[in-house]
C-alpha cells in the first residue's frame, strides 16, 4: 500500500499522538516528530554529561578521604556516576547520535550539563552535602522521569534511581557523623550547607514563567512535572532532614505555610544561575578542560585496543 507522503506523515503523527495520549512509551525505531527527537536528545545528553562532569567535584576528595571506609564509599559513588553517564549515553544513542559526537559536543560547549557541577568542593563536608542536597535534588527530579515517554530514557532512570538512594544516604550519614564531632566539624557542615543550598534549588531549572520548553516537554510526556513543583517538593522533603541534622538552611523567608501545607521559601539568585549557565561559574573552564584532557590522554588507549582487536580478529 502506497500513500501520498503527506497522508503518510499525518497517519504516523496520529499514531505517535495516540501512543503519548495512552501514556504508552515511544521506542527507538518508532516514527517520531523531529522536534520530539531533538528534545529528547538534548535532555538525555545534558543529563548524561552532568553525570560525567559530576564525577569531578567529588573525585577531588578521593585521595584525601579521612578513612579507608569513606574512601571506598566515595570511590563506589564516583564509579556509579560514570555508570549513570553510560546508561544515559546508551539511551541517547538509540536516537541516532553517536557517542563520539556526544563527547565532542560536551567538550566544545555545544551541549550543556547541570549548573551545580560548576561550584567547587572546598571542604570534605562538601562530599556529604553533595550526597544529601545535590543527589537529593536529583532524586526529586529523576523519580518522575522513570515514567518519561521515551522508553530507553525511562529504563535508564529506573536503574539510576535504584542507585541514587545509596548516594543520598551516604552523604547524610557523613554529615550526621561530623555533626556529632567537634564544634569545628559542625561549622564545616553548616558552611558547606550555606554554599550548596541555593545552587541545589537551582538544579530544577528556571521558574515556570521563564521556562519556555516546559509546556511542550510535558505535552510530550518527556517531563512529568514543572520546575517549580519539583523545587517545592525538594524544600518540603529537606526541611525536616535539616532539623534532624541540626543545621540551618540559609533562607530567612523559609517558613511553614499552614494553608498550603507546604514551606514558603525565598527565590534563588536567577542572575547567578544564568551567569553560570553561560559559562561564568567558578569552575566551568576547569571542568571542561579536565574532561578534554582525560579524553585526549585516553586516545592512545582507544587506538591500541582497536589495533589489538583488528589483529586478533578471526583468532577466536
Amino acid at each position: 500500500m502506497t500513500l501520498a507522503p503527506e497522508a503518510d506523515e499525518s497517519a504516523l503523527q496520529a499514531a505517535f499522538d495516540a501512543t503519548i495520549e495512552r501514556h504508552d512509551r515511544i521506542e527507538p525505531r518508532d516514527w517520531m516528530p523531529e522536534a520530539y527527537r531533538k528534545t529528547v536528545v538534548r535532555q538525555v545528553a545534558q543529563h548524561a554529561h552532568s553525570e560525567i562532569i559530576g564525577m569531578q567535584p567529588e573525585g577531588n576528595w578521593i585521595t584525601r578521604a579521612p578513612s579507608l571506609r569513606r574512601k571506598a564509599i566515595l570511590l563506589a559513588k564516583v564509579q556509579d556516576e560514570a555508570g549513570h553517564g553510560l546508561y544515559l549515553y546508551s539511551a541517547c544513542e538509540t536516537l541516532g547520535v553517536s557517542r563520539m559526537e556526544l563527547t565532542e559536543m560536551l567538550i566544545n560547549g555545544k551541549q550543556k550539563y547541570s549548573s551545580i557541577f560548576n561550584y567547587p568542593t572546598l571542604s570534605y563536608a562538601d562530599v556529604g552535602t553533595i550526597g544529601w542536597l545535590v543527589d537529593g535534588a536529583a532524586i526529586c527530579n529523576q523519580v518522575p522521569l522513570c515514567r518519561t515517554s521515551y522508553g530507553p530514557y525511562g529504563r535508564s532512570m529506573i536503574r539510576i534511581c535504584k542507585e541514587e538512594s545509596f548516594h543520598q544516604r551516604q552523604g547524610y550519614e557523613l554529615l550526621a557523623t561530623m555533626m556529632r564531632g567537634t564544634d569545628e566539624q559542625r561549622e564545616m557542615v553548616q558552611e558547606s550547607v550555606n554554599r550548596f543550598w541555593w545552587p541545589a534549588l537551582m538544579m530544577f531549572g528556571p521558574p515556570d514563567d521563564d521556562s519556555p520548553n516546559t509546556a511542550q516537554s510535558m505535552a510530550w510526556g518527556i517531563k512529568r512535572n514543572t520546575n517549580d513543583d519539583l523545587r517545592q517538593r525538594m524544600v518540603d522533603m529537606t526541611v525536616p532532614q535539616a532539623e534532624a541534622l541540626g543545621v540551618t538552611l540559609p533562607d530567612p523567608e523559609l517558613r511553614w505555610n499552614e494553608e498550603r501545607q507546604s514551606y514558603d521559601f525565598g527565590s534563588p539568585d536567577w542572575d547567578e544561575f544564568k551567569d553560570v549557565i553561560k559559562g561564568n561559574g567558578p569552575c566551568n573552564k576547569q571542568r571542561i578542560a579536565h574532561r578534554r584532557r582525560a579524553h585526549e590522554d585516553g586516545a592512545w588507549v582507544r587506538e591500541a585496543a582497536t589495533a589489538f582487536a583488528a589483529r586478533t580478529e578471526g583468532d577466536g
Binding site: S98, R155, R159, A305, T306, A309, G316
Partner: protein, 97 residues
C-alpha cells in the same frame, strides 16, 4: 585504519539476573572486541549483583522486525482465539481443568 577516529563498535548487553531466569536486555555499550565488551558489561551493568551471567552481541548482528510491518507481522495471531484455553467451554462439574 579509519576506525581509530570513530567509536568502538556498539554491543547490546543481556544479563541473567539469577539462575532459572532468562537473559534480559539491559542496554548497550562500546568495546573494541567481544572480550572487552564482557568486561565493560560487568562494570557498567552488574555493580550490585544484578547478574550471574552476561551475553554481549554486536548491535549490527541483530536483525529486528520493523515497526512498519507490525500489523501484517502480528495480525495472524489476532483472530486465533482458539489458541487460548478460555476459548473452550468445560462443564462446571469437571474438576482439575
Amino acid at each position: 585504519m579509519t576506525e581509530i577516529q570513530g567509536d568502538w563498535p556498539l554491543y547490546e548487553v543481556f544479563v541473567r539476573g539469577k539462575r532459572g531466569l532468562n537473559h534480559v536486555h539491559v542496554g548497550s555499550l562500546h568495546a573494541a572486541d567481544d572480550e572487552m565488551a564482557v568486561r565493560h558489561a560487568r562494570d557498567v551493568y552488574t555493580r550490585r549483583n544484578e547478574g550471574v551471567s552476561i551475553w554481549v552481541v554486536r548491535s549490527d548482528a541483530i536483525t529486528a522486525s520493523s515497526p512498519d510491518e507490525k500489523d501484517p507481522l502480528f495480525a495472524p495471531s489476532g483472530d486465533k482465539v482458539y489458541r487460548h484455553p478460555t476459548f473452550y467451554d468445560i462443564p462446571d462439574n469437571v474438576p482439575h481443568m
